[in-house]
């Protein structure tokens, strides 16, 4: 049975009373202890969404603190070099925190303030979510605790330093594969024990239903800006528009697409690019591309990498931010509803894309959006000149300088 998307309603609200999209993705598979805190958060969030003063406050910070809108720029050199479709970039990495993570961080901190909480806790993979949460928490006078896998602490040092500079406590996670998946688990465990005083910030559109909704609500700012910018630039929505976005947990891509949801996919195509991992490795972080089975991870049903027995599988990606075995239930729904197309790029393709884009253009995407650029480079030459590709450049390469130096010999920003 194919799933249908309703028009005129945000996708984040198209779940049933059990919190599930399409009756099979999402939900609230949590220990009993968390039921009440989650229910409280659901009530508060649904109230705040209708509260004009809350929306005003959100928009105030988006405009004056984030500096919305982020630029939409043509990548002329790259377009000329490849021939074919026009390639543009939405430079979300211009944000404070150099990624899209600031939207979710601000909304969560505003909610935490309204809930009377003084502490926030969050998970981080690449450290973008952690760094940004640390920064925003500091601004709002909240104390932040950030859970991060030991493997990621080593490979994303600049972000760890930044978190500490903002006064956050970085909790090293030594269990399991010591990456994002374990950081999310450990952060949830912490919340189980501290749910009354601490507010949980899940760093992506994953986790129990309400966290998917809050994150998607927050990152939607990206496409609210983009749809205006595109109409300004082209006078209307182009006949052939392709929105390319990397997918780890799926928060940037949901936010990049949400305002375009009701367009026919032949006009506005969504392409999600997952992490294919090292070229010769069997490990990857691409559950949608590789047709993983449905499973339950971190409170939600989703397509997830797992073995025959149901043990969650390990992933391997050059991008710490993509090293996650699951994927947002929103994307599972978009895949099954056939609204979005998902594919993957390997570590090597991402590195090459980073190199090409950085050398030709005035932007320097991190290895996460480099996966999306890899797909743009792949498809652009085959497309007509009136096709417009927009890539969400949702991270800056600076955090990856050590990895890039090691793999490519040098780092030029």
């Amino acid at each position: 049975m194919s799933l249908k998307i309703k028009k005129g309603i945000p996708l984040i609200d198209q779940h049933d009373k059990n919190g599930m999209w399409g009756g099979k993705f999402g939900g609230n598979f949590v220990p009993e202890t968390l039921k009440k805190p989650i229910e409280d958060l659901e009530k508060l969030f649904s109230k705040l969404r209708k509260d004009k003063s809350f929306i005003k406050e959100r928009d105030y910070y988006f405009e004056n603190y984030v500096g919305a809108p982020t630029p939409l720029i043509p990548l002329n050199q790259l377009t000329d070099h490849l021939g074919g479709a026009q390639i543009w970039a939405k430079v979300v990495s211009e944000n404070p925190g150099t990624a899209h993570k600031i939207y979710n961080a601000i909304v969560h901190c505003l909610i935490a303030k309204r809930a009377g909480k003084k502490f926030v806790c969050g998970d981080t993979g690449a450290g973008m979510a952690g760094k940004t949460l640390a920064m925003v928490a500091k601004k709002f006078g909240l104390k932040a605790k950030i859970f991060m896998g030991v493997k990621d602490i080593k490979r994303q040092k600049p972000n760890v330093d930044a978190m500490k500079k903002f006064g956050a406590e970085v909790v090293p996670v030594t269990s399991g594969s010591q990456t994002l998946i374990d950081a999310v688990s450990e952060c949830m465990r912490y919340w189980v024990a501290n749910c009354l005083k601490s507010h949980l910030v899940v760093g992506s559109t994953v986790g129990p239903n309400i966290f998917i909704k809050i994150c998607g609500y927050s990152t939607s700012q990206i496409s609210r800006e983009l749809i205006v910018q595109i109409k300004d630039e082209f006078g209307k929505i182009p006949k052939r528009l392709k929105l390319l976005n990397v997918c780890g947990g799926g928060s940037s891509s949901y936010g990049f697409w949400s305002s375009f949801m009701d367009y026919d996919k032949r006009q506005v195509e969504f392409v999600g690019i997952e992490a294919g991992g090292p070229k010769k490795s069997k490990l990857h972080a691409a559950p949608l591309t590789n047709n993983s089975k449905i499973g339950i991870l971190h409170g939600a049903a989703q397509y997830v990498i797992q073995d025959k027995d149901g043990q969650i599988g390990l992933t391997d990606s050059i991008s710490a931010g993509l090293d996650y075995s699951g994927i947002s239930p929103l994307h599972c729904f978009l895949k099954d509803a056939k609204r979005a197309r998902y594919t993957s790029a390997t570590d090597e393709e991402a590195l090459n894309a980073y190199k090409l884009v950085s050398s030709m253009e005035n932007i320097s995407p991190s290895l996460e959006p480099a996966h999306a650029f890899a797909e743009a480079i792949k498809i652009a030459p085959k497309l007509s000149k009136d096709t417009v590709i927009v890539v969400n450049s949702c991270g800056d390469s600076l955090k990856d300088r050590d990895i890039i130096k090691k793999r490519l010999g040098s780092y030029v920003r």
Binding site: N28, T33, V192, C195, K293, G295, I296, D309, G310, I312
Partner: protein
């Protein structure tokens, strides 16, 4: 007909003591030893919970995590737990077995197949950490149809209204989580406070066998002996870990620890 679980509680009540419930992880430290452990501690416990380990256990502290990862690393497969129970139930002093774990393992195995294999091997009850009420309604009903107890959980955060609804959908045994913590945390609430909450639940329905778990060790167990039952898990997992580290036999070590626990609540 009364369930094995119900009978176990009635026996303890007659002896004027709480039921002692152990929790160990299947295939920890390996298949053979986990069966030996189970057989040996059965002389002291009234019911035995066996964990089916999951790679991403969000409700467990470090002791149970360590046991779970060790079991998975040693090649645990879900079918192993049914073999373990089958062999164990053949011993004539066997106690009612409760399987405990995370929903993905059941979901993946298939709810119906899981219950069928539970029934075949002699499982009496199931605890599913991340399948709360009302999400568990359907599965709990399936359990009941197979005469398997689906054990509902209650926490300090559970509201009174919710407690009523959950109790209504519960079977013979209900599990009260003593405090806001993952398993194995230090008891950060006074036993008096825990028992106060416990009594509030009992006042709503005194017939349900209500057990307390989380943070129970040889040091705290005595102060909670007025409960219908007490679960000890992390302490046992930690004992296995420590005895492996010291090159000792976990079977005899665990037997001593559980014997000691039992003596404290007699």
């Amino acid at each position: 007909m009364k369930s094995e679980i119900q009978l176990a509680f009635e026996k303890c009540r007659k002896e004027n003591r709480p039921a002692l419930i152990s929790y160990t992880v299947s295939s920890d430290p390996n298949k053979e030893k986990s069966l030996k452990i189970l057989k040996s501690i059965s002389h002291h416990v009234d019911l035995a919970e066996i964990g089916f380990p999951f790679s991403t256990p969000i409700g467990d502290g470090s002791d149970i995590q360590t046991s779970s990862y060790r079991s998975i690393k040693n090649g645990f497969k879900i079918r192993d737990i049914f073999q373990l129970v089958k062999k164990y139930k053949k011993t004539n002093y066997s106690k009612p077995i409760i399987l405990m774990g995370y929903y993905n393992m059941i979901f993946n195995y298939g709810e119906n197949k899981f219950l069928k294999d539970c029934k075949k091997s002699g499982v009496s009850g199931i605890i599913c950490v991340d399948l709360p009420w009302p999400e568990n309604k359907n599965f709990a009903k399936k359990c009941k149809n197979k005469s398997i107890n689906f054990i509902q959980l209650l926490a300090p955060t559970t509201t009174k209204d919710r407690i009523k609804k959950i109790l209504k959908d519960s079977h013979d045994m209900v599990y009260y989580i003593s405090m806001l913590s993952t398993t194995g945390g230090k008891l950060k609430v006074s036993p008096r406070k825990i028992l106060e909450n416990y009594k509030k639940i009992k006042r709503i329905n005194s017939k349900k066998n209500l057990v307390i778990g989380f943070g129970i060790t040889d040091k705290t167990i005595k102060s909670l002996r007025s409960a219908d039952g007490l679960v000890v898990g992390s302490l046992l997992c930690k004992t296995i870990t420590n005895s492996l580290k010291m090159g000792q036999n976990p079977v005899t070590k665990l037997d001593k620890v559980v014997y000691n626990l039992k003596n404290k609540i007699l």
